[in-house]
């Protein structure tokens, strides 16, 4: 009964809150006011039901926290998915199957599907790159798309002016945006969390403004067209063949990224990043060079964005500043957050879900961003570790246990 009353009050409050924006719509030029009364009903009903779910979920979360505090609930116990991930045999088999599916994809489905898959894979690499900066090192970067732009424009411009090919520019784009990462990294090394976020955001916007206005350099808002597609020993390819070709390059790039970031995560520098994320002061006290660690996180994160930026320019053959807005940065960030910060599999899954879902649910595409926003909030409140939470590598010394048992 109390719950019912509470939910009623909440839904009344939200009806009041959404009234002017949801119900009234004015057209000042024709002097017409449109009253959409039905919306009240929907808002009221939806909020009424949601408030029950909300309260239940919050209560559950609190109960779990309490249990964790008193030590009853074993937080360290791996969940079923984590246990499955730990299983070596299963893992190799799953990976093998996945690889076959990925390789067969362009032959089973048509060119359109491959094109969609390519853009999803581009976001996978972007997500994995940002995962280094945000997920592992804990440096919130809101201007990540700037590095993507650096890569894309370096290919477009080098190709336009000097006729350089895709394969030459691929590493160049990566290195250039790596350099940008270091240049940006230097002044903001001393800044902490939130300041960092705002400066990176500013950097993202500066790059976009410069690209839009410095027409002699970047051809302004009209962008650069007719960028060469990647070549294969000078073979002439039709659209379908070249899409398949790009698809395979993307698959290779994803595999490379997964291997490199996976190795980095458990390396000396990767552990330094994680330590930095957990506690900066303690980390410095343990003798970790903060400047170098932070810079390397920035530079390596930017490197992947630059590479995949080259890829993006080669795939679309046309780029302009409109592709590099803050919204893109926000999408990449939500991929990392929703997938699970620090977890490679989570980020891949997150990118697939967030990019493929709106493609196949065309009817809902206008609701995409609002769902993104809501999902980010809900995820932070109810499942801050993401879809698949990051598992730290554990090292076990097996010999000791046996010995002690024998004694």
């Amino acid at each position: 009964m109390k719950n019912l009353k509470q939910s009623l009050a909440v839904s009344l409050w939200f009806i009041f809150l959404t009234f002017p924006l949801m119900v009234v719509k004015v057209n000042t030029s024709d002097k017409i006011v449109q009253w959409r009364w039905m919306n009240i009903l929907w808002v009221g009903l939806a909020i009424f039901l949601l408030s029950f779910v909300w309260r239940h979920a919050l209560a559950r979360k609190e109960a779990r926290q309490m249990a964790a505090q008193s030590g009853q609930d074993d937080l360290n116990k791996p969940t079923r998915i984590q246990a499955m991930l730990e299983d070596q045999k299963l893992r190799t088999r799953a990976m093998f199957a996945l690889l076959i599916v990925a390789l067969a994809f362009p032959w089973v489905f048509d060119t359109y599907q491959s094109t969609i898959m390519i853009s999803a894979l581009i976001y996978v690499v972007l997500g994995l790159g940002l995962n280094i900066t945000v997920g592992l090192a804990g440096l919130l970067d809101l201007g990540y798309v700037a590095f993507f732009a650096v890569g894309a424009y370096s290919y477009a411009l080098l190709n336009h002016h000097f006729g350089l090919g895709f394969w030459t520019v691929l590493p160049v784009g990566g290195i250039l945006s790596c350099l940008f990462g270091v240049i940006l990294g230097f002044p903001i090394l001393r800044l902490r969390g939130d300041y960092l976020a705002i400066v990176t955001l500013g950097f993202g916007m500066i790059i976009k403004v410069v690209l839009e206005n410095w027409s002699d350099f970047s051809f302004g808002p009209s962008g650069i067209a007719n960028i060469d597609k990647p070549s294969l020993f000078g073979l002439k390819m039709d659209i379908a063949a070249s899409t398949t070709y790009i698809y395979y390059i993307m698959i290779a790039l994803v595999i490379l990224t997964v291997i490199v970031t996976g190795r980095l995560k458990n390396s000396r520098i990767g552990r330094a990043w994680i330590a930095l994320r957990e506690d900066e002061i303690a980390c410095v006290a343990m003798g970790i060079d903060m400047a170098r660690t932070k810079l390397s996180a920035y530079a390596l994160g930017a490197f992947w964005a630059g590479m995949v930026g080259v890829m993006f320019a080669a795939k679309t053959t046309f780029i302009n500043p409109a592709s590099f807005t803050f919204m893109e940065s926000a999408i990449i960030l939500s991929i990392v957050v929703l997938g699970g910060m620090g977890s490679i599999l989570g980020v891949i899954l997150g990118a697939m879900i967030l990019i493929l879902m709106p493609e196949y649910l065309r009817a809902f595409s206008e609701y995409r961003m609002i769902i993104f926003g809501a999902a980010m909030v809900l995820m932070m409140i109810f499942r801050p570790q993401g879809i698949i939470s990051n598992v730290r590598q554990k090292y076990q010394f097996k010999g000791l246990k046996e010995k002690t048992e024998n004694v």
């Binding site: 004015v26 000042t28 400066v199 932070m380």
Partner: protein
């Protein structure tokens, strides 16, 4: 010289708007160390509500100043309600979470509110009526400073004096200062910290709504996206002045407004935003705590 004065006053007007929005950021940050990314959206919602109320009232035959007052009041009321709800839904459950969590939640909320207005209303730019009338006594100096600018400057000044008085002399102001200094200590002496935080959000939202209505009527259009850039600029202003400090936010807003105005007037208006962020980076390198901010030692 006249051009200089014109730019100066233009910068001052713009800066005072930044300052109004920046105050909301800085007050919230001072208390819970959170960049309220959705604050710009509160500002946008204020402007939008004012637009809708104006439209309805004009069609039903109201005139002049009465519209301005009703629209302004409703905009403030609604912004406060949104600010209050925002805090309750998106930030309160994350009070004890790691610091990145509420920040991401705030970005999510910002995206959500933008698209909510986009879907509920329209993605187009809407013409906002010029609510501020031209005063007759302003005629002789109208070529230097117009009536809207004067109204913006005066309103900002009055609002800030009121805010200062509120923080300095009222009970809730005292509670806010105490919470800012030490939250758990404030709780020990019987301050309802949750209520203080809610009040802070409400006050910040009210200031943002005032800024929103003034800007919308000054520039003459509203759109679901206006909050984002305004929010980022205002946050830049807050950081410039030293985040957490109320006079710092005002100073930061004015410095930012003047910089932009002079840069646009003397160098190039295309690169306005570049100068704003360039200034931010420069100040943060030289003085990481901002102009008026105190550098706090972080304890382990």
């Amino acid at each position: 010289m006249e051009y200089f004065i014109e730019l100066f006053l233009g910068g001052l007007t713009r800066g005072s708007i930044y300052a109004l929005i920046a105050l909301g950021y800085t007050m919230v940050y001072g208390i819970i160390q959170l960049i309220n990314f959705a604050h710009g959206e509160i500002y946008m919602i204020g402007a939008f509500v004012a637009y809708i109320v104006c439209g309805v009232l004009t069609i039903y035959g109201f005139h002049g100043v009465s519209i301005l007052i009703i629209a302004g009041l409703l905009a403030v009321v609604y912004s406060c309600a949104y600010g209050y709800t925002l805090e309750k839904v998106a930030y309160r459950p994350l009070r004890n979470a790691p610091r990145l969590s509420p920040l991401i939640s705030a970005i999510g909320m910002s995206i959500f509110l933008q698209n909510y207005v986009l879907l509920a209303q329209t993605p187009d730019f809407l013409p906002f009526p010029a609510l501020i009338p031209d005063f007759e006594f302003m005629e002789p100096i109208a070529h230097i400073i117009g009536s809207p600018e004067l109204v913006i400057l005066v309103t900002t000044l009055v609002t800030m004096i009121m805010l200062t008085l509120l923080i300095k002399y009222t009970k809730i102001g005292k509670a806010m200062r105490a919470t800012q200094q030490d939250m758990s200590m404030a709780r020990l002496v019987g301050i309802n910290v949750d209520r203080v935080i809610s009040t802070t959000f409400v006050i910040g939202s009210a200031l943002a709504a005032i800024g929103g209505v003034l800007v919308a009527s000054y520039i003459g259009q509203v759109n679901f996206y206006i909050g984002f850039l305004a929010g980022v600029k205002a946050f830049t202003a807050a950081v410039l002045g030293g985040i957490g400090s109320v006079p710092g936010a005002v100073l930061g807003g004015l410095v930012l407004g003047l910089t932009e105005s002079f840069a646009a007037g003397y160098i190039s208006s295309d690169y306005e935003d570049v100068f704003a962020f360039g200034l931010l980076v420069l100040i943060l390198i030289l003085r990481p705590a901002g102009i008026l901010g105190r550098a706090t030692k972080q304890k382990v």
